[in-house]
């Protein structure tokens, strides 16, 4: 009954197949390693995806340094730092979630996921506040963009006003804000997708789907979530912390 004598035949092994071992894999280890390798390759595509944006950022930062400095001063370091904190913490809770899944602690997993979701929403909430402020100040690139606040800066809540920019330099802040919105926007989109998956995972976890060792999804999602964190680790200093002194 062999296909031919061309190939020697491997004994398939009569051991019990776990329910979630898919037919084309030999063993669970193979299946899990395969999944995480696939996930990593996907993350490579994400690196390159953001890579295009980082390239643009670095170029224009060099070209229009003064404009970038002034524009970055309109961002609130406090909000940015809080958000960094939130995101790093959510990364930690996610890591804990993975650990709980690995050690089959269903309760712990559920609470970790909830914490991660809450922190994810918190991040997006703060981001929304920041975006809203940009809209109000006409710092959103496009037809409503206005350089007024750079040409005629006003001191606000205690902070001294920034130096006024000449009109042509001020116009370059639009490039900064274009990149700001493109980069944080893409990052936020990834967060939203991530939160969606987290919610799905939470439902599954409550149903007990990850209590039997089939936790590849949790582990791989963990990788994704850490990657999103990782992007932010770069975005925060690049966008918020240009020359604060």
């Amino acid at each position: 009954m062999s296909d031919s004598h061309a190939v020697a035949v491997a004994e398939h092994g009569a051991h019990e197949h776990p329910a979630h071992l898919r037919h084309h894999f030999v063993s669970l280890e193979q299946q899990d390693e395969t999944a995480s390798f696939g996930m990593w390759l996907f993350l490579l595509t994400e690196i390159m995806f953001f890579g295009g944006l980082f390239t643009a950022y670095l170029i224009y930062r060099n070209w229009y340094y003064p404009a970038f400095v002034s524009a970055s001063h309109t961002l609130s370091i406090t909000l940015g730092a809080i958000n960094t904190l939130v995101l790093i913490t959510s990364s930690f809770t996610m890591a804990m979630g993975v650990w709980c899944a690995e050690t089959k602690k269903q309760k712990g997993l559920i609470w970790s996921l909830i914490a991660t979701i809450v922190l994810g929403f918190a991040f997006l909430g703060i981001k929304t506040v920041e975006y809203k402020e940009k809209f109000e100040k006409h710092h959103v690139p496009g037809s409503s963009f206005s350089i007024q606040s750079f040409v005629h800066p006003v001191a606000e809540d205690g902070k001294a006003a920034d130096k006024a920019l000449p009109a042509d330099t001020a116009a370059r802040t639009e490039v900064y804000f274009s990149l700001y919105f493109a980069m944080t926007g893409m990052h936020a989109v990834h967060m939203i997708v991530g939160i969606g998956l987290l919610l799905m995972m939470l439902v599954q976890a409550i149903r007990g789907a990850y209590s039997h060792g089939n936790i590849a999804f949790v582990e791989n999602f963990g990788l994704y979530w850490h990657f999103v964190d990782l992007v932010w680790i770069f975005l925060f200093p690049l966008l918020y912390l240009i020359s604060r002194h």
Partner: protein
Amino acid sequence: MSTILNLPDQATARVPKRNYLTNENGIMSWLLTGDHKRIAILYLISITFFFFIGGALAGLIRLELLTPQSDLMASDTYNKIFTMHGVVMIFLFLVPSVPATLGNFLIPIMIGAKDLAFPKINLLSWYLYLAGGALTLGAMISGGVDTGWTFTTPMSTHFSNTNVITTGLAIFIAGFSSIFTGLNFIVTLHRMRAPGMTWFKMPLFCWAHYAASILMVLGTPVLAITIVLVALERTVGIGVFDPTKGGDPILFQHLFWFYSHPAVYIMILPGMGVISEVISTFSRKRVFGYTAVAFSSVAIAVFGFFVWAHHMFIMGVSNYAVLVFSLLTMLVAVPSAIKIFNWAFTLYKGSITFETPMLYAFGFMGLFTIGGLTGVFLGTAGTDIHLTETYFIVAHFHFVMVGGMLMAFLSGIHFWWPKLTGRMYPEKISQLAAVVTFIGFNFTFFPQFLLGMLGMPRRYAAYPQEFQVLNVFSTAGATILGVGYLLPMIYLVWSLKYGQIAGNNPWQATGLEWQIQSPPLTENFTTIPIVTQDVYDYEWLERQKEHEVTHVG
């Protein structure tokens, strides 16, 4: 021309009753399949469809260029047609051509696996492809795009009022289809090899796909983000590429070509894999310098990332960058030369027969060499100034893409047709088609080198009188070429029902895929093989010959 058809089981042959085609019935069993072979067939059908769309557009281009005036259509229409021709041919035909069909079908079998690592993602990839294709067609019907397939800014962001965003979205989606295919291949090749199937026992087809997959995974996302930025520039009005806002339009080209140069190697590498298999099989010899060919694929993939700015020599990049990129372009051309010579020497002391796949492979070698060497003309900074943006480029890339990759695709389709369908294609007429294609091809595109030398610019709906003669040649050739492509379409469909039954291994080839029944079972192997033989081990095959071949199905 003789044939090596040696079918011990042909007298009693029937197509095995149980195989991946008959395993399940009904349209849903196809649309929801996880079987890499079925997905390959789905891809084959959709890709062929888009090839003929692209081909029909090419026909219109050639018709318009028959006369110097733009009399068949307005120049706007012409611009939309060549844009659509380029977009369809590149993103919907050539990029997925070999990988998504033959690669999908064969890679798991060649390495002794039951399926690709992620069957569902494989299916998703096909749906993404379809979505991209549908959107492209939608954009085409609802007014088209007129930016050229390169979407140069600020043309595409501020000066075109056509469906740039729809088409961009289509390419974005099709791009993810390509990313998932590549991702699947890499993981499969690393993780799913059968016991004993070491890297250096893998057929070169797998090596070539491995290299191409690296490019797909690492290159395509950059195109994706570029498209996003173009879309944002068009809709919101952000200022990343817009010179009036301080952006640099050349940055767009950097990002675009960072993908699109590697993409040309995405397009050619799988074809090179096909050629390795075909040449080895029909000269019944191990591929000369297996390791060199394997590593040259990887070298092309790696170096392919370093040369993109050779598309921008006169576009305003710095002179230093021109030097560096020109030098690197020379380096990336060498691995291709290595391959060509190794294939030629595979023939040495072989036992050669000339079935259709082999004819196409010869066509590939000749035409790709011409195309590749003219690529070196373009990579040389000084001559690129004269030749760039002329028909010389059009000729260059049609030689490598049509003369190279399309020939390789047809070669592979004929070669593995028995495995795909269990039936042989008709040999005589297909040999004729191969010859017609070769002749038609040269008639179509060789004159374009001369046109380019003379300075005829590309993307011209109307051209000065003196270029007409060569253009008439080209159009006449395209007609022949069209016939050459329609023929296989007809006889391959015909052979589905009336073709001779193929048996397991009509070519007496060594790959694992030939050691199982044709068409294969859904699970490919009833038991996972343990590979003991070497790659392209014809002596081992000889030793196996006396054994009777039995069917499973």
